[in-house]
Subunit: 499 residues, 2 copies
């Protein structure tokens, strides 16, 4: 602060700030303008350019010399021009879509506060809000009094990896010091429709992907009652193999299917193995009195992944791992680094949560969830979820008997996932043989490419098992309405009829 | 969009937006006001409350029913009231301090764009900017043409874990499928002053903390030339143990010391083991022509951790892992999940970087670094770093002969870390015995507690090895000036003279 000229230092100080504030306000104006167009159905979802085009479209290089603030504003405009409008009512591409205004405001505040979750002393409010929010989430899971533990982690894949890490430590605590060499070979069980992060985690943790036994599914659900006990007995009888974890999925990525958690809990109890529920996608349904029965049994899990950034519309990233046993994360991960976690501080050290994380610095992900929860109430999340599931059912009803549409899965969707093929007129009367499959497999990619080039809407497609490329529609976007579902169907027909 | 009433749909649409925009502008006004006070030396760094006080000070609970927008604004004000002013010129508590206005603006834009780094199709601009920025960082490291690989990860601890994961895979690719059971017991080497994340990573990856050999340091540096070859030969001769990685530190957490990278590179070359450089803290010095010699040899590393959110002042979080060999991250981590990474898309799939990450969704951390780089130029980062190191030297010169101050390390600081004891008058004439050590160990915690209660400044303290609690001053805050260093010294004297 310049103390020389003015009798009131604050005046000088504030005056120096005018140009900065004016720059920030200019940025804000750009952002507000973008926000409005984000939700305007008459605008494109994406102004698509191929990577090499986009590299040439603008000079993105990093130079020795600075640019002016005017050029910086221009960079911001350009970045947004080519960005995906992830809040657009016709953006259905991912499990995380939509943009909540309170969540956004909270994220701006988080950036402005610019701290990390390392200790209470550097993030007092956010550490407390993590405590309050995780406890509330555990209450909703059904753990008495919200007791237990947890953390906000950088995404569902990391949350699932944490679960595996903690489960291994619970059974063989010596692994922390001595590594996998000192313990038997571990085996994890999950369904063939589970998220790839279960295998990724096993690879990273030194367990190995071969040790992840994928249980075959019927059309849309994990069927441990049929297959699991047999697989379990065979695997357990192998010398040196020890089953340690079942990762059940509440809301699979493609079909949105829910594993039968009560049956899985019974098996885990019988065989004394860790029950993890990957509810990254489906966990949000716990907020709905109408739909939460799909997760019945989740209260018997040892750990649960639940991503509010998916079905609850919280801005990215916001993923929680909830653990039933308190203190286990801490024992598993702590390194007692006294140079980082001083033990003679003047406040209650149980709020210094850094040592239970794999991360040292940890981004503040809780505030946007907390503030949205205050703004919407639990009833607001419930209404959002019920509406999205109603829209999915609307889509299902609309296409189930529509010419040219073929559902991948029979029956009403369990989540908002609706999977279907669009069959262009040229394929409709063909025999169901290899050539038809081959041609059908090329339909969705072409329609998707056209959607992106027109920029009108975006929806995901993929093959799965023996099923060739099909569309997977998911609805988590609060801006979506019936008209957008109608639009999607008609747009697919428009873009695919000549194929 | 309501198409009914207006002849111009956009008018209706924009009209509906007025209350939302007004709310966001109100939030922005709160943030701008906070920002200005953030930098005002006449304000407190922290309005400290004990956790139980803070829990009672306000009702933080999550309820069923929604709050009004007015109440939401009030929540924002309260959250900021109790937040740490991490941009305050007298906040020196962490390796990440300060708040850059362009970086902040970029983070606001990132939140507004609300996407993730999964694929080019959902983050075209950010994926390209990651490509451009990582290449530039590799060029600066000294890899020809900026060739290689890398990723922005959720913090230095995870970046270091990635390095260990990739190093293991490079030597024993079968570990991915078969786990640690199929390969020899691995050994990693690092200095006793390295970051605790090396051990944390080893625990998580199933290698075990016992397999991390800590090389004894002299006062302030890793000394592989003295100790490492002996240790290495002993360890290698043990049946079944295979050395696979040396994690050198460029800028240790407490002392800011730099390992001799050239000597370490020679050893790694001779014994064919992976050389990782943890430059989370010291990597920033590569931006300075005056100081980058301290990392000489980094160009011979196989991987480098470099956190722009530390010494380069980028808002949290922004950590890069750079890898010399291209494609290795992908082979190590990919799971070929075709339902996530469709192989028949219409653009160059090398831009779909998601499968080389452990995460599935990944937060956009690159834009703030990229935009700051555009705004400051390389020369701007250089000036910032040179200034911070000059301030550290100013502090060092000021206290080296000052009564009541005792340096932990002799000689000029290598980084901005200056470690010292404050010795209150009552201890100055005491013999150097256990009682004095015991009393001295209590000085820093009391002064720190008082600092926080007064809210005037914040600096870290810790014990290390046989050294009792001492202050570790670090300077990464661009707002800090000579007067703040002066203030810190006098404040420590004021708060500690009666002890």
């Amino acid at each position: 602060m310049n103390l020389s000229a003015s009798s009131n230092p604050s005046e000088t100080f504030y005056a120096e700030w005018q140009s900065t504030l004016s720059f920030l306000q200019d940025v804000m104006d750009i952002l507000l303008q973008y926000l409005v167009t984000n939700f305007d159905r008459s605008t494109k979802v994406i102004d698509f350019h191929y990577p090499n085009e986009l590299l040439q479209e603008y000079n993105w290089d990093l130079a020795d010399q600075p640019q002016t603030l005017e050029e910086i504003l221009s960079n911001c405009r350009i970045a947004l021009k080519y960005a995906i409008k992830t809040g657009h009512p016709r953006y259905f591409n991912q499990l995380s879509t939509g943009l909540d205004m309170v969540g956004l405001a909270a994220d701006w505040l988080t950036s402005t506060a610019n701290t990390n979750m390392f200790t209470y002393e550097i993030a007092p409010v956010f550490v407390l809000l993590e405590y309050v929010t995780l406890r509330k989430m555990r209450e909703i899971i059904g753990w008495p009094g919200g007791a237990g533990d947890g953390i906000f982690s950088p995404g569902g894949a990391i949350s699932n990896m944490y679960a595996m890490l903690i489960a291994r430590f619970k059974m063989f605590p010596e692994v922390k010091e001595k590594g996998m060499a000192a313990i038997p070979r571990l085996v994890a069980f999950t369904s063939e429709h589970s998220h790839f992060s279960v295998k990724k985690g096993a690879a990273a943790l030194g367990i190995g992907t071969d040790s992840v036994i994928l249980i075959r599914c019927d059309d849309r659900k994990f069927s441990p009652l049929e297959h699991f006990p047999v697989v379990f007995v065979v695997v357990s009888s192998l010398q040196g193999f020890v089953p340690f974890l079942v990762s059940a999925t509440a809301g699979t990525t493609v079909y949105g299917a829910f594993d039968p958690l009560i049956a899985i809990a019974d098996i885990c109890k019988k065989y004394k193995i860790w029950m993890h529920v990957d509810g990254a996608w489906g966990g949000g349904l716990l907020m709905s009195r109408k739909h939460k029965w799909k997760l019945n049994g989740v209260e018997r899990a040892n750990s649960v992944t639940w991503n509010p950034h998916k079905m609850m519309g919280v801005p990215l990233q916001c993923s929680a791992l909830l653990v039933r046993e308190e203190g286990l994360m801490q024992s598993c991960n702590q390194m007692h680094a006294s140079y980082l976690f001083q033990q003679d501080k003047h406040y209650d050290l149980s709020y210094d949560t850094g040592d239970k994380a794999l991360q040292c610095g940890r981004h503040v992900d809780v505030f946007k969830l907390w503030l949205m929860w205050r703004a919407k109430g639990t009833v607001g999340f419930e209404a959002h979820i019920d509406k999205c599931l109603e829209l999915a059912e609307y889509l299902y009803n609309k296409i189930k008997n529509r010419e040219g549409f073929e559902l991948v899965i029979e029956g009403k969707p369990q989540h908002t996932n609706v999977c279907f093929w669009y069959v262009p007129p040229s394929l409709r009367n063909m025999e169901d043989n290899e050539e038809r499959m081959n041609r059908l497999s090329k339909v969705a990619p072409v329609i998707k490419a056209r959607m992106m080039e027109y920029g009108t809407t975006m929806v995901s497609y993929q093959p799965l098992g023996d099923k060739v490329n099909f569309f997977r529609m998911v609805i988590s976007n609060p801006a979506a309405a019936h008209q957008d579902i109608d639009f999607l169907i008609e747009e697919i027909e428009r873009l695919g009829q000549d194929l």
